[in-house]
Symmetry: none
Subunit: 212 residues, 2 copies
DNA sequence: TTCACGATACCACTTTAGGGGTATGCGCTC
DNA sequence: GAGCGCATACCCCTAAAGTGGTATCGTGAA
């Protein structure tokens, strides 16, 4: 029986995955937490064979939890379980030490296989992202030739999200508790980084790249 | 026993939710489909009391499935089950006739309550989005039925395409061999028809609707 | 310990968008 | 033939975006 810890902010998803595994599947979700910050204390209390981790979570994201674990010397294999098919997330996860990467639209059989492999400290990649892995490995001859989107900071992406919702600089400033000047500076930097002429093109580009 | 059909492209989520409901919960997911286009044929084969529907799906989105059902005269209460907290999605869902709206980070208890209410053709809204519903109802005296995009003329869609490419009014005027004044008039009319505040929101909305 | 970067903030300025009108000609329909 | 939607075009004006700088502070890397 593989004992797994699930880290996901979506309660429904978590309870769903837990109920999905029957005793004879050989897998048991022994604990679910919606807050990645609790992972170290949980690991000190109970013993698990692997961790199933969502990437996008509000308080601390999956990569952040991986870093937190590493800083505390916690060595438990982690399977990233996410909707993001972007190379950005995959790369970040692998760089930070994830053992595998699977998409949320995987089947139960695929998830079972992934959990088994990761718990044995083998790598697992979902078939859907294999091509991207190859493309990425082929493309890493020239690291500067990355995606323009990768140059954006988290704050800048946050600003982009607000812009897409139709908020103007003043509204964004109030929402983020910063000055309107700062928002305008961010907008300028974003436009330079993405090499776009105006807000319309910025929104188009960002939506195509999945930032919005 | 409430018999539910689940429409979600994320297999894991679907199987998870299905396993979550035990016989004594009074709810059974009798069928899961990852393709919304199959909903009409499924409804003709099996009998269900309600439909649990994800909004963002690749082949046809949740709102599209609702429209498809309506066009075929299929009258089964639908609970939208999604991650999107945006009023835009909520509005579209309600306009197209969804009976309820719940977020994917809801608890099992909340989902159970929602399914029960919707199967009785009562409305259900997740507590987290109640405020947005109120704001919406306050702001909309005139509930416009039908899709806003349908009101756009071909010329207006052409203008929208240019805006999305980052062209300003002057550039659009030159490209279409018309006056800049005319372009500005078009932009104004477009924004009124789509009920958006500015160009950024216009682009976001248009891309979601597939105009761009 | 520098040094780079991100987030913050401000000034001054030009260009563009956005909102209020009004108007004409064309094609279609009732 | 009167009305309607659409594309066209112009006026005036305000608000916002966009461009050119500069600058402080904290953090983390070299």
């Amino acid at each position: 029986m593989i004992r797994a810890l699930l880290v996901d902010d979506h309660q429904l998803f978590g309870e769903g995955v837990r109920s999905m595994f029957k005793p004879n599947d050989g897998i048991e979700i022994v604990k679910i937490t919606t807050n990645g910050n609790n992972v170290p204390s949980i690991l000190s209390e109970i013993e698990v064979d692997m961790i199933l981790m969502d990437i996008s979570m509000p308080l601390i994201d999956g990569v952040g939890v991986l870093e937190l674990m590493k800083s505390k010397g916690l060595d438990v294999p982690v399977l990233m379980l996410t909707m993001h098919q972007d190379m950005k997330y995959i790369r970040k996860s692998l760089e930070t030490g994830a053992q595998g990467y699977i998409l949320k639209d995987a089947s139960k059989a695929e998830l079972t296989e992934a959990i088994e492999k990761v718990s044995r400290r083998e790598n697992y990649f979902h078939p859907k992202i294999n091509n991207q892995i190859f493309d990425y490995l082929r493309g890493t001859k020239n690291p500067s030739q990355g995606d323009l989107v990768d140059q954006l900071s988290d704050r800048e992406k946050e600003i982009i999200g607000c812009i897409g919702k139709g908020m103007n600089s003043k509204a964004i400033a109030e929402a983020l508790f910063i000055s309107e000047h700062t928002v305008k500076t961010h907008r300028r930097n974003i436009m330079h980084k993405l090499a776009v002429k105006n807000t319309a093109e910025l929104v188009t580009y960002s939506m195509e790249k999945g930032i919005i």
